[in-house]
Every structure is written in C-alpha cells, then in structure tokens.
Amino acid sequence: MNVNRCLPLCLVLALGEAPGPAFAETLIVNSYGGPYESIIEERIIKPFEEKSGIDVVYDAVGSAAQDYAKIKATKGNPGFDVGVMTASQSLQGCKEGLLEKLDAAAIPNLGKLAPRLSEVAGPCGAVHEVQYMSLLYRTDKLTSPPTSWSSLLAPELKGKIILPTFQNIMAVFLLEIMSVARGGDMIDNVGPGFTAMAELARQSIGFEQSSAILESYIKDGTVWAMPFWNGRAQLLIDQGVPVDYVRPKEGTIPLIATLNVPVGAENKQAAMAFIDFFLEKSRQEAWVTGYKVGSARIDIDIPDDARKRQITTEADLKSLKLPDLARVADKLGEWGERWERDVVSQAK
C-alpha cells in the first residue's frame, strides 16, 4: 500500500485511540429570551457553573408551548436537558410519558417547596417561580386604583381595556375567575364566566396574544387597564411606566412555572443538579428579587417591599385559586370553540 495513502488512515486510527483532552460536562437549558435571559444568566447559570464546573449552554429559542411541542414531536428527546415550562405542560408531559419524574432523592430541595404548589405541577415539574394574574392599570389615567376584576367593566374604561386571546392562558384564568365571581365555578359551570367575558369583549379594543404586544398598549396609554402577569407588571413599574398592579378582591390564579427534564435528555444527572441548585434558598431569593416573581419556597428572606407584592408566604398561597389544570386541559378545546362564538364575536 502506498505510504502517502496509508498515512492519513494511520493518523486517524492513532488519534482515535489516544486519550483526548478532558471536556467539561455540558448542560443545555432551554428557556425564554428578553429580560429573563439576562437575569437567569447572572443569578442562576453563572453561579451554578462556578459551583459545579458544568458548562451551561442557554437556548432561548421558542416559547414554553413551542418547546413542549418539540418534546412531543421528538418523543422526549428535544436536544435540551432542562426546559422551563408551565404546570399545565408538566402535567401533560408526565401523562404522556415525555418528562422525567423528579424525586427528592436526586433533588433534595424539592422537599422544601410548598406541597400545595408542587401537587398542582405534578411529579414531573419542579416549581421554580410563581407569578399571578394581576390587574394592571395606568396610575395617571384612573382616579382611584381598581379593586375588583369587575372594575374592567366601568364606563370610564370603555374602549380602554384589552384582553388576551384564548391561546394566552391568562384568558382562561380570567374566564374562570369571572365565572366564580358571578356564581359559577372554575370547571363545570363556566357559563357565567363566558357571559362576563362577552361583556368585557364589548368593552375592549380587541385581543392580543403576546404579552410583549399587550404591554405596548398600556405603555403608550391606548389602554388604561388589563390583566397581566405580576412579574412583567413589576418590570414595567421598574422601567418608570406610570402603572401599578393589584391583586383584586375576588382573588387570582397563579402561573406556576416549572423546570422539567425530558425523558431523552442526555445529561440527566447534571439536569437534576441544576434544578436542585435553582431551588436552593439563596438562589430562590436571588431569582425572586431579580425577576420580580414569587416563589414556592416560603422560607426565603427577601425585602419587605418585594414580599408585599409577590407570592412568598403561606397566607399568599392560601389566597390563590388553584384550578385542576389537568381538567382545564381537557376542557380547553370545548372552551376555545365557545370563546370564538360567544366572546370574540362581541369585540368591535
């Protein structure tokens, strides 16, 4: 055999057999972009890398729904090890066998979470943050702060409110709250809620799905009040927008965000270590004060002004309305059709 032709083959074989450089373990975390990305990088990912020696690759592509669809389409092997989703997706993924069940042996800090919230998310989701649907309003337009969800129907707000589309889970939660407020319930008797939402649709300028677009309306003063996640509402206040938010007297439903591990994840051990780190007391304190959200850990120490506005205590947790998300998921198709017929048709 010609030496020139043999040499490359020999080199490949030799290098293939030789011990290569030691590479650090790499963990792929999929979550959101925008302010979320910079805060998680600074307050969670960097300290985790320093402590564990594991490299984290942050993948900000896709919403939670898109990520879940990716997990489903790949039968649990979406190419990332940890995903940030919601309790509804955690339940669905667990039911379909797409997400790994998490237990306190691998993630000791799971045991420190409020059981009420952990139960809502099911065995496959680690609750790492809690937001709630607040009533956001313009402080320079409204003479007095609203106290009730029904305030959205006040004559002064005619043409000054906007609603989320049904595909934004806020719409589902608002429907359920209005239903309870008008004598119905959160699952089986939501007729009163649809009646109320039809009235709100007539009062509104229309519907938007994306939170980013929704907030643009209140920022420029087109809209004076709307339902909005309190974490994002707090970020608007911090930006100097003349807005404030309240937890109305009828109560509210939380958006429970979870960390999840797809069944086909390549680095499950590192994923569990990352989740445990995120749920540590000090990291939850850093996250709550950084991203302006609540926590499922009620033992965290945070400044009073943050505690006052977030879900951080046992009393806060008890005040939340927690619908059975699995049953809500089963009803979504039917409610979505009714929403199109009874609610969307009423908007201008």
Binding site: F166, G206, F207, T222, A329, G336, E337
Partner: protein, 299 residues
C-alpha cells in the same frame, strides 16, 4: 427557420438507458419520499386515528364539518387566497409587461424594486404593515391628526389587512411568473397587429392577454397556494377576529395540543390547494389543446 427546426440531426443521440434514468432520479425521489411523502402520510394517518386507542375513526372529520368554526376558517382561507391571487396578478401584470418588453434603462431599477420585498423577511415586512395599518398606526394617526376621521378606521385585524400584507409578500413571485410568460410571446405578433391597424389597447386585449394566459394561470396558482399556506402574515395582521386554517393549525398544535385535529385541518388545506391547482392546470391544458386543434384545422 422552420426548416432548421424540422431537420433531423445527422446523428440521433442514443436514448438514455432506463437504468441510468432511474439512478438520476433516485436521489430526488428518496429526498421527496423521506421529507415530503412520509410526513404527509403520517399526518393523513393521524387524522384518521383516535388519540388514545389509535383505532381508525372519522370523529376528527365529523368535528371539522360540524363545529362551524373550522369550515368558517376554511372559507376565510379560500376568500383570502382568491383575493390575494387576483391582487397579485392584476398588480403584477403591468410591471411584468414592462419588464418583458421595455428597453429603458429604468428596467433594471424596476426589476430590483419588484424583487426588493424578498430581501426583507416576511415577519419584518408584516410588522411594517402593522405599523402602517393598525389603529395607532401611520395612516390612522395622520387621518385623525388632520381631523378627517374621529376614530381609527378598521384597517387592521381583518381581511383587508391580511390581503394587503400577503399581496406584498407574494407579488414578486407573480411578477416573475408573468414576466417569463410575456417574454415568450413573439414581439412580431404585436408589431403585425399594429401594422394591420389595431390600437395599442386592442393589441393588449386580443394578442398579449390571450397569449399570456399560461402566465396568468401560473401567477394565480402560485399566489393562491402561497397565500393559503401563509402563517406569519395572517397571524400578525388578522389577529383574533380573522383566523385562517394556517393559524388555526398552529393553535391546535401548540395550545390545544390536539395534533389529530390539526392534521384534519392540514388535510383540508391540502385538498383545497390541490383542487385549485388541478382545476387551473386542467383549464390550461384544455385551452392549449383547443388552440392546437384550431391551428391544426387552419393548416
């Protein structure tokens, strides 16, 4: 000229062996089977199976035809696509004619301008229209500041906005298709008609338009199918009030997580596009056949 065309070459090239033809076709057939036919088959299969038991069922189709919303979505998709196809072809025709026939130094500029929309992404272009058309947008702001209207005109979140946005997106494809067709018409035919006393308008009406029908059909079909399958523009400019099948499929996949019903909607969209394409192609084939027959009878 005809002598040259009809003269047989001295040595006829040998017909390609059947095996080598298969070898040439194999890679494309393999790619199409793996990435088009197979997923399409899976999707169609899903639409006929139950999500829990995987047993065959027509339940998803029954729902599609009975819930009222899905058929309304199909109707909106068809209306939108027809209007986009007509707008693209009507607006694109004069530009295509100019590009095919003009020797002006502006031809290159017009050509670049006609294709310019393709240089920006579809989402970017659609956001541009949103800024112009929405209630707080440029047009409504201007009209209200001038005191011409008291409240914003409904220019967005409706059929009008989606048709405007999609026409902008699809127009370059229509222009290219029409330009190619018009370029294929012998300019001597126009000159001959004019020399025989036809006005410019008559030439266009009786010579150019009939001969460019293949291009018109092609432009209508391309625009129709591109509009019917478009997602970003209807999603952004149509909003909650104007949902088409593409946006409804997206919702079923991502929000309702009902992939089987999404598959039914996708099948409905596919059938609609195939039907329209089939009718267009058949019309053009029959028209060509009639024309050949007439020419045959004359000769």
């Amino acid at each position: 000229m005809s002598t040259i065309a009809l003269a047989a070459p001295a040595v006829m090239p040998a017909a390609p062996a059947r095996t080598s033809a298969y070898v040439v076709l194999a890679p494309s057939c393999l790619v199409l089977t793996m990435f088009f036919a197979l997923p399409m088959g899976v999707m169609i299969g899903m639409s006929f199976t139950d999500g829990e038991t995987l047993a065959p069922t027509f339940a998803h189709y029954q729902r599609f035809f009975s819930d009222g919303l899905s058929l309304a979505g199909l109707y909106r998709t068809a209306m939108m696509s027809i209007l986009v196809a007509l707008s693209v072809t009507v607006l694109g025709y004069p530009i295509a004619y100019f590009l095919a026939r003009s020797r002006s130094r502006w031809r290159a500029v017009v050509f670049a301008l006609a294709l310019a929309p393709e240089l920006a992404g579809v989402v970017l272009r659609t956001y541009g229209w949103l800024i112009i058309l929405e209630d707080r947008g440029f047009i409504n702001d201007a009209l209200m500041n001038l005191g011409l209207v008291a409240s914003p005109l409904p220019l967005s979140k409706n059929l009008f906005a989606v048709v405007v946005g999609l026409t902008h997106v699809v127009l370059p494809f229509g222009i290219l298709s029409l330009t190619t067709s018009i370029q294929g018409i012998d300019p001597n035919l126009e000159r001959a008609a004019q020399m025989l006393g036809a006005s410019r308008l008559s030439v266009v009406r009786h010579v150019i338009l009939p001969l460019s029908v293949p291009g018109i059909v092609s432009s209508l079909l391309i625009s129709f199918t591109m509009a019917a399958s478009a997602y970003a523009t209807p999603a952004l400019l149509g909003g909650a009030r104007f949902k088409v099948l593409a946006t409804m499929i997206y919702e079923q996949v991502l929000f309702y997580i009902d992939w089987r019903f999404a598959a039914v909607m996708a099948v409905a969209l596919l059938v609609m596009m195939l039907t329209v394409s089939f009718l267009g192609i058949r019309y053009e084939a029959r028209r060509s056949a009639r024309r050949s027959n007439r020419e045959g009878e004359r000769s």
